[in-house]
Point group: C2
Chain length 362, copies 2
């Protein structure tokens, strides 16, 4: 029986047992506020502090509705697993919106009521939403020297033309076969991904790799795919983003996990990921001065916030980078490299960066 199904059944059995014993049934739901997030030195990722979880009781005027909602969501997910179906958070909301017979009262009035219950379950069961067969946002594409098996299909990611494989929301059941790559290159932007794919950058014996574009902030499917590939195939991960706080945060989320999903860092984070570029110091090193953009106030503010994060405070190289950006008030996009020529990224910048590993920011 899959882990998730067993966990869901255990919830039901525990509640039944409590009722039979005449006790007030409750669930342990850890608190997920910001103040409960910390950096775990041992794993190198964000996590929830493991202090006293909150209890949610059935017989409690303040808890009863949420308790009932939690039961409904659990039963719905159990049904998904039994039937082997996957669906989205929005579908779950609609399916559970009106479950009370002979009543016009909704069990969920808004999706903003059902979404947190799903996260409660994730946290309480230490399970991924995807393992409950609930799909998250979907974004991301992948190509490279790798064959995967998925739903009975064998897919060679080196033979997908200009498009690549669309990363689905759930990558739990994918098997990796015939991996012939030395590292994973994670690229923020699709335009750079298309250029790299056009040059079949991943095929060159000097830098055989798997290329993933996150198309902005990485969706859960892409993060989990990167993590699984990195750990199961023991591959280094190099992250390649714009030189701005938004791009850098994409890197930090891939590496450490995100604040809002700190409870699943161990399933989504990739602590061995390294930052390849663009950094503010790259601008001088690679003569990109003419192609920079003035940083906006919002960029400066974001950089200052990031300087204060516990897990960035301990990284002198990042403190330096962020302070340099704040001082110079400039940022640069991946496309700045095109200012030096259309093949500069694939033939100069990346090979140099990949060779001189000491230039990678940790």
């Amino acid at each position: 029986m899959p882990e998730a199904k067993k966990e869901l059944e255990e919830i039901g059995e525990k509640v039944l047992k409590d009722l039979e014993k005449g006790e007030n049934p409750f669930l342990d739901i850890p608190i997920r506020s910001l103040s409960n997030v910390e950096f775990d030195e041992k794993t190198g990722m964000l996590r929830l502090k493991e202090e006293k979880p909150g209890k949610r009781f059935l017989f409690h005027t303040g808890h009863a509705k949420k308790f009932m909602q939690t039961m409904l969501v659990s039963a719905f997910c159990k049904e998904l697993l039994d039937q082997g179906l996957h669906t989205s958070l929005r579908d779950l909301y609609y399916a559970l919106k009106t479950t009370l017979p002979n009543s016009s009262e909704n069990t969920f009035n808004e999706q903003s009521e059902s979404d947190p219950i799903v996260i409660d379950l994730e946290v309480a069961l230490k399970i991924l939403r995807e393992q409950l067969h609930l799909s998250a946002d979907v974004r991301g594409r992948v190509v490279g020297n790798l064959t995967i098996r998925d739903r009975g299909d064998s897919i060679n990611l080196a033979r997908l033309g200009s498009g690549g494989w669309a990363v689905p929301s759930n990558v739990e059941d994918i098997e990796f076969r015939n991996v012939d790559a030395d590292f994973i290159l994670v690229v923020e932007k699709n335009a750079a991904f298309e250029r790299l794919n056009e040059d079949k950058f991943w095929q060159d014996p000097d830098h055989k790799c798997i290329i993933v574009t996150t198309q902005g902030q990485a969706a859960r499917g892409a993060r989990r795919l990167i993590q699984r590939l990195a750990t199961e195939k023991n591959l280094p991960v190099h992250v390649f983003t714009d030189a701005d706080p938004y791009g850098w945060y994409i890197y930090f989320v891939i590496k450490y996990g995100s604040i809002s999903l700190a409870h699943v860092s161990d399933r989504l984070g990739t602590p061995n990921a390294k930052f390849l570029g663009l950094s503010v110091s790259d601008i001088e090193k690679f003569n990109l001065q003419k192609y920079t953009i003035k940083a906006e106030d919002v960029d400066i503010k974001r950089a200052q916030e990031m300087l204060d994060y516990e897990w960035i405070k301990k990284r002198p190289a990042w403190q330096e980078e962020l302070n340099l950006m704040i001082k110079k008030k400039i940022k640069a996009e991946l496309e700045a490299l095109s200012g030096r020529g259309l093949k500069y990224m694939t033939q100069e910048y990346l090979p140099k960066k990949l060779k001189e590993k000491e230039h990678l920011l940790d």
Copy 2:
């Protein structure tokens, strides 16, 4: 020689010839304002009115800079075609930002200066941006009974697991092989696409098809792919969106082309596309009343605008739908179908809609 390259060379030759004859070189650039857009009854798509194109002169204080910029962009695209490279609008901007030797004057200060020049070229040459090797935004996934050939790879879209093929920004050179589908199903949302793909909906002999998700408003690559498949393989197109003005506009853009890209409707529009659902009348017909959402003011306003579009005015069925939505002040999402059960969409709604073709809105 590819069409685009020939056209670009002709621009250069014309300018040279004008100069040799001692004449003031100019380019014909059609005007692209809203007032110059009309519905073409014959093709069933939007187009630019073909009245007097604007002339852009080299020796003219008001035109000289734009003329020079147009020449730079043309030369850059010619270079892309010569080298067989593709790049993005943003890359083009960076590559051409500073081209004047011994001057700190930029040839383009902002991307908002170079983007319109690319559209000027598209309009003037009657050519797609993609044929100039410039990538547009990228979004969209496709699966189904179809094999394509792209960059030397043969890709069977029936064997791509849960992910599907990521639609690239440029689909001009893709060849279609072994098409075994009766129609194309275009789905607005990825969640519905994943459900359909999970059930291998496209494989069922009752409705063999190719499924494309646009993931919101269709990107140019997806629109062109739908058009090419529909016309080259003579396949009907059924569009499946939320029951709201945003969803319906996705349908109208696929069918008629968009106002802002009216000059390339013949390359991006698919006039034989039909609207499958969701319609406001579906809500009653399929008992979805419990799963609707209150329409916001912005929805009502958008519906009223759409009622007035020349090409919607002539569609009584759409006038009825839009007025019904305005009257009832409700909308519904694809996910509303999950309210009737998780397999309701794939096993009830879609088969019924596809069978009773008269229910399709034109």
